[in-house]
Subunit: 215 residues, 2 copies
């Protein structure tokens, strides 16, 4: 791992105010609106988020975070699809895929400010709203209700991660593909098949055969 790459540095160069057209009719940024959707919180907390978050765009194919970097930010996906992948030698293994209305970050960044094991890549042109972990810590201390928001979100994300760990252990290709369709089916036409095959731990040929059989 290249630990010289300190932080998601590409991002820092491109911190932009959130465009008005991204905001809700009452002027909230999408990140504040999302937080309030997870658990209704005070206007003071939402105002803090609106004042401190930033817009970030990233082109298809580019990395939001490289393995070895320490992730200092989390992002709400306003538009686009991302994947997480790890490298095993020269091989890329897709570990998760996610899209609009989800939060992404390196979990090792959140929990311990350790270098990320995984890379995070945009697989479409994407629009994000970012906030720093430092600001998140400030919210935890000064607006205790933020702990409720994160507790609820983490419960969901933990359940999703368990599900991923579970799916990847199924031995039958069609069981794994069925699970994928039931949870991520709406994304299937937006993701290159080679990433889906890698996520499901099968070759492209096995994926194609599985899809044909299930049609």
């Amino acid at each position: 791992m290249n630990t010289d790459l300190l932080s998601d540095s590409n991002v820092k160069k491109q911190i932009l105010p959130v465009p008005r057209e991204w905001c809700t009719s009452d002027g909230r940024t999408p990140l504040a609106a999302f937080v309030n959707f997870v658990h209704p919180v005070s206007d003071a907390l939402l105002n803090y988020i609106d004042a401190h978050c930033f817009a970030h765009t990233i082109e298809k194919g580019k990395l939001l975070l490289k393995a070895g970097e320490i992730c200092h930010h989390m992002y709400f996906i306003r538009k686009g699809v991302f994947r997480g992948f790890v490298k095993e030698g020269s091989k890329e293994i897709t570990t998760w895929i996610t899209a609009e209305n989800e939060i992404i970050a390196s979990i090792r960044g959140i929990s311990q400010q350790l270098p990320s094991i995984e890379n995070i890549q945009a697989i479409e042109d994407c629009e994000l709203i970012g906030g720093s972990f430092e600001q998140l810590e400030f919210l935890y201390e000064n607006y205790p209700e933020m702990n409720i928001v994160s507790r609820k979100l983490l419960t969901q994300y933990y359940a999703d991660a368990e599900e991923r760990a579970y799916i990847s252990r199924l031995t039958k290709a069609n069981s794994r593909y069925k699970h994928f369709i039931s949870t991520k089916g709406q994304l299937v036409n937006r993701i290159p098949l080679r990433y889906i095959a890698s996520y499901l731990g099968m070759t492209l040929e096995t994926l194609s055969r599985t899809r044909s059989k299930m049609r």
Copy 2:
């Protein structure tokens, strides 16, 4: 899934007060002491936990939770080792292994009170301290600091689940075994090799070969 099996019913028959010899020198139950270790909380919160938690023992080989049941409790492991496993046809696939000083529960129970996908089995004679999700919800509402405790714990458990999802996708047997040794090495002599092989997605023969090579 057999949804007639409502809840971890075996447990209900065996709810016992926490023995004094399990408690700390200042009389706290191990569950309250653990909560206070994760994040220091008020005596009122700890008193609530001490008054409402219960002791539970389970013999080696028995199930704490069956797939299809809705899990209503969470447990702190005072002593022993557990594994989670799912069935794919007649095959058992071990999805996680954990031991002393950890909390176990069905994540689908915590997040949505849905039937568990997995079975939870004692692989040694075990001693547990249990509490109900209903009491946990009471704590969230009446002692907001409990949200901080859970936020911290869930961050850790989420990171661990990501790690499990990651390890299971590594293609090389020795990479997977090395990861296992680095995170669970201290448990290796307490877990039957067939469960470790299943957890690592390899045959018993491959595991034995990998272990021999690494010696």
